[in-house]
Symmetry: C2
Subunit: 208 residues, 2 copies
C-alpha cells in the first residue's frame, strides 16, 4: 500500500469509504440481507450474524436499522449520480454521451445489482427526512439525463416529441435492470449495457 492512510482495496473498492472496518462489515452484510429478503423482512440479528458479530454490536456503529439503510441508500445514489454526470459532462455528440450514460449506468445496476436493488427499491422504508434527501438526489439524476436529451434535440441529432416522458422511460428502463438481472443469467453486465445503449438510441430516433 502506497499511502499510509489508504483503505484496503483502494479508492474504487465499493464501501471503501466506510470506516471502521466493523462498520463496513455490518453495512455489507446489511446490503446482502436487504437485497435478498427486503428491508422489513430482515432482522438486526440476521445482519449482525452475517457480519460475525452479536446483535448488540450493530448499535455501536449505527443508531437504528433505518440509519443503516439510509447510509446504503445515500452512498448508492451518490455513485449513481456521479456516473450519470460524468457521462453528461463528457465531450462528444449527444448520441455518444447518451449511449455512454446508459451503458455505464446499466453496467452499474447489473454488476452491483444487490446494492442497486436496495438503493432503488427500498426508498419507502426510509423515514420522511431521509426519504426527502434521497428524492432530491433522484431529481438531479433525472436532470442529468434530460440535459443530454435536450441538447440532442437542439442539435438535431434526436427526434423526441416528449422529452420529459422519454427521460423517465430511459431511467426506468435502466433502474429495472437491478430487479431482473441475475449473475447466473446468460448475459454479462457489459452485454446488457451495450444492448440497452442501442435500444435507447433508437428510442430517441438516432439512425444507424
Amino acid at each position: 500500500m502506497s499511502a499510509a492512510e489508504e483503505t484496503p482495496g483502494g479508492e474504487d473498492m465499493p464501501w471503501g469509504e466506510v470506516t471502521p472496518e466493523a462498520a463496513r462489515r455490518l453495512l455489507v452484510a446489511a446490503v446482502e440481507a436487504f437485497a435478498e429478503r427486503g428491508y422489513h423482512a430482515t432482522t438486526t440479528r440476521d445482519i449482525a450474524g452475517r457480519a460475525g458479530m452479536s446483535p448488540a454490536a450493530l448499535y455501536i456503529h449505527y443508531k437504528t436499522k433505518e440509519e443503516l439503510l439510509h447510509r446504503i441508500s445515500r452512498i448508492g445514489h451518490d455513485r449513481a449520480l456521479e456516473i450519470l454526470r460524468a457521462a453528461a459532462d463528457r465531450d462528444g455528440t449527444a448520441a455518444e454521451r447518451l449511449a455512454d450514460a446508459v451503458r455505464s449506468f446499466v453496467r452499474w445496476h447489473a454488476e452491483r445489482h444487490t446494492t442497486a436493488r436496495v438503493v432503488q427499491y427500498e426508498l419507502d422504508a426510509l423515514g420522511p427526512e431521509h426519504r426527502a434527501e434521497i428524492v432530491e438526489l433522484r431529481k438531479q439524476s433525472d436532470g442529468a439525463v434530460r440535459r443530454i436529451i435536450d441538447e440532442g434535440v437542439e442539435a438535431g441529432e434526436f427526434v423526441v416529441p416528449d422529452v420529459p416522458g422519454t427521460t423517465v422511460a430511459v431511467l426506468s428502463l435502466c433502474i429495472d435492470v437491478s430487479r431482473w438481472f441475475n449473475t447466473q443469467g446468460r448475459r454479462s453486465p457489459d452485454e446488457v449495457g451495450a444492448l440497452y445503449a442501442d435500444l435507447v438510441l433508437r428510442m430517441v430516433g438516432v439512425q444507424k
Copy 2:
C-alpha cells in the same frame, strides 16, 4: 341487477370474482396496504382494520397472510397475461399488435398501479410453490411478447438484432410503470400508454 347471481359492479369490476363480499373487502384492503407499505411491513391487524373487521375475521376467509398475497398475485398475473395474449392473437401487422400490447399493458399498470405494484414487486414474499406457479405465468407473458417480435422480424417489419434481450427490455419498461406512476402526476394512463407504444416501436426499428 339483471341476473340473480350477478356480482355488484358487473363482470369487469376488479376483484369481482372474489366472493363472498367480506373476503373481497379484505382482499382489497390487503392490496392497498401491501402497495403502500410492502407485504412484510403490513400487519394482519392493519388489513382487517381497513376492511372494518376484527383481526380474527381474516382467518375465516384466508388460511394465512401469504395466501392473501398469493390470491392477489394470481388474479393479477392472470389478468396481465390475458391482456398480452389478447393483443398477440389479434389480426393486424406485428407493429399494430406490439403497439396494442404495450398500450394496454402499460395502461393497466398505470390505472391499477396499486395492484400492479403488489403483483410485480412482492413475488419474493410468496412461498416456494406459490412462487413457482407465478414464475410460470411470467414466462408465458414473456412468450406472448416474444412471439409478436419474432413475427415482426420474420415479416421484415422490425429490425431487432437481439430478440430475447429486447423482449425483456420491453416487458421491464412496462412493468416499471407501476413503480413510478402516480395518480396525482401530470400524465393519464392513456397518455403514458401512447408514449410507451411509440417508444417500443422505435426500439424494434419501425420507421414512421
